[in-house]
Symmetry: C2
Subunit: 356 residues, 2 copies
């Protein structure tokens, strides 16, 4: 049974470069499928279907930029609403707009704010946590964030420092949040893991629309001011709104933040190398490494990541390479340089912008 | 002025695997262009045009296999004859058939027997040597071979050991041949270079048709026997003819072999790595290495060889790779494994034969 007071807000305006050439400026990560099945759903489609049986289709909103609006349209059903931002302004304006839309439709509505480009292998565990978070948000004027149970001393994520456990909800895993912590160095991340009091900040939120709008009024009062001054015209309001993250603009300042611990194999797919951890789930393991698209044959090659849908990739005497083909572009990168794909994309933008 | 007694015989039946996937079983090396110009002539076309102004078009014969006959037709003018072998049987049957064809047309004809898949950068030097070889062959009952002036102690070629210089021809560079020498090890090759008495055996021959037919009768008498027993029907004769090389069957046994020294930048394009030496001529040099097809961009990448016509290849943090794309196949090989591409091709034949 879906809950008519639940509203899914999927943020799908991002435009990363880390998966180039599979991702491009017109087809960023959220629109991609990773996996060898030709009809595998995209990360955006997976994000939406994750809430089947929970959020009615007509209560689903995808916030994106105008550049990506038609890409979203082609991947979602007609019942899903699309809010197309005139330009990307980080997450705070996006959440503000969505919160106003939800509040106008359903003043008691609970928003589930979700990124569109992560993977969640264990769906039942995820839904279980969301259900508890929703129950809390309905009955408390709190900002709920889902805190990911960390599995390694990752230096690429922010952390949530937890306070006392919550009382009054069934099951465990609910805590107050004492602080939002920036990406740590390795020593500090290792310490965080050892204390057991830290969770990864995965950017997933559950709150009533009225509660987050109140928080905006408290910490970013200019949002309401600009919005109403613009007569609610998004073209006028957007360029004037503060381009910052919801974390920085609201969450780090608010005192009514709680978290529910999420333990579901979550991964933000930060780069090609994160596919290695998912290889088993994708049935993508190969003697030469991981093949998430196309077919590979190899002779004395190891530790590679291959994505070339419809192609045959032959590897001879190579190790730890990322090999990606999409359309007219082919990337060959050493795996430990995955974070520098952006340097390649800059060069592509300069010389062959249609491929960037 | 072309010479009506000259007859060009181009051997184009070879089917190597060293340039896979640019070369395939249906499109071996001789049909390929190396170079970034989209209309660059193939190696076969270059071989034919090398004799413009020397051999009349109607005196040109391409010997190939039936599998490759239509590929040859698509690359040569209609004046050129094609002899399509029922199957490849090495070079001796091929030369025998061509020699009979030339002799029947022109009993005094001089044959220029040339491989179809080599490069010769300095055309004038080549033609100069050929002219002297032709003059000798017309007036002597000798088997003339062009001996390539060696530039390095190559272990991948056979060598010709020269004897005394020839007398009675203008210019220098003509020698008797004392012996044909098999591919040497490095120590021996180095010694050969130092003595100055050795040339590379490039498989290029100049002789009168009657002289080579006499040599066949002396050393491979079964060739005439099978040919005539089969009523000159190639389908019947070919399977019965000895499948060996002209070198092994005739040249190594004959005593009337002479050579003219060829110094023209000749290269047999034995593998992808041989393109590095040709990079300057091909205008193919790139900061990351050599790009003989398509476009490359790179970040901290060195010593690579890229051939991907129409594609953009991006290299990030990689060294000494061969990257080749053709149709649905992409090869990534470590450069020092270029000789092992055949291992890859065997696997392709087993799993995706249409790409081999």
């Amino acid at each position: 049974m879906t809950d008519p007071n639940l509203h899914l807000v999927v943020m799908a305006g991002g435009s990363g470069t880390r998966f180039w050439p599979k991702s491009t400026s017109k087809r960023p990560k959220q629109f991609l499928s990773f996996g060898t099945a030709p009809d595998a759903p995209s990360l955006l489609q997976q994000t939406l279907s994750r809430f089947d049986g929970m959020v009615p289709e007509s209560n689903r909103v995808v916030v994106t930029t105008r550049l990506l609006e038609s890409a979203v349209e082609s991947q979602v059903t007609r019942a899903v609403s699309i809010l197309a931002e005139p330009q990307g302004r980080n997450t705070a304006p996006c959440v503000y707009w969505a919160a106003r839309a939800v509040f106008e439709k359903d003043p008691k509505g609970v928003m589930l704010v979700m990124p569109s480009d992560h993977t969640i292998p264990r769906l039942a565990d995820f839904q279980n946590t969301v259900t508890r978070a929703v129950a809390w948000a309905k009955s408390h004027d709190d900002l709920v964030t889902l805190g990911v149970s960390p599995t390694r001393p990752e230096t690429g994520y922010g952390y949530l420092k937890t306070a006392n456990g919550l009382t009054g909800v069934e099951g465990s895993g609910g805590f107050g949040v004492e602080a939002f912590v920036e990406k740590p160095d390795l020593a500090r991340a290792t310490e965080y893991i050892q204390t057991g009091n830290y969770l990864w900040n995965g950017g997933m939120f559950v709150w009533r629309a009225d509660v987050i709008l109140k928080a905006f009024d408290d910490f970013m009062p200019e949002m309401r001011r600009e919005w109403e001054a613009a007569g609610r015209k998004v073209e006028v309001a957007y360029p004037r709104m503060t381009a910052t993250s919801i974390d920085y603009g609201v969450m780090e300042r608010a005192r009514n933040v709680v978290t529910f611990t999420l333990d579901c194999g979550w991964d933000d797919l930060g780069s090609w190398t994160s596919l290695e951890a998912l290889a088993e789930k994708l049935s993508a393991r190969h003697e030469a490494g991981v093949v998430t698209g196309g077919q590979a044959i190899s002779v004395e090659s190891y530790g590679c990541i291959v994505d070339a849908p419809g192609k045959l990739v032959a590897l001879l005497g190579v190790e730890d390479l990322i090999v990606v083909q999409q359309g007219d572009a082919i990337l060959i990168a050493k795996k430990d340089r995955a974070q520098d794909i952006k340097l390649i994309v800059e060069k592509v933008k300069a010389t062959r912008p249609e491929l960037a």
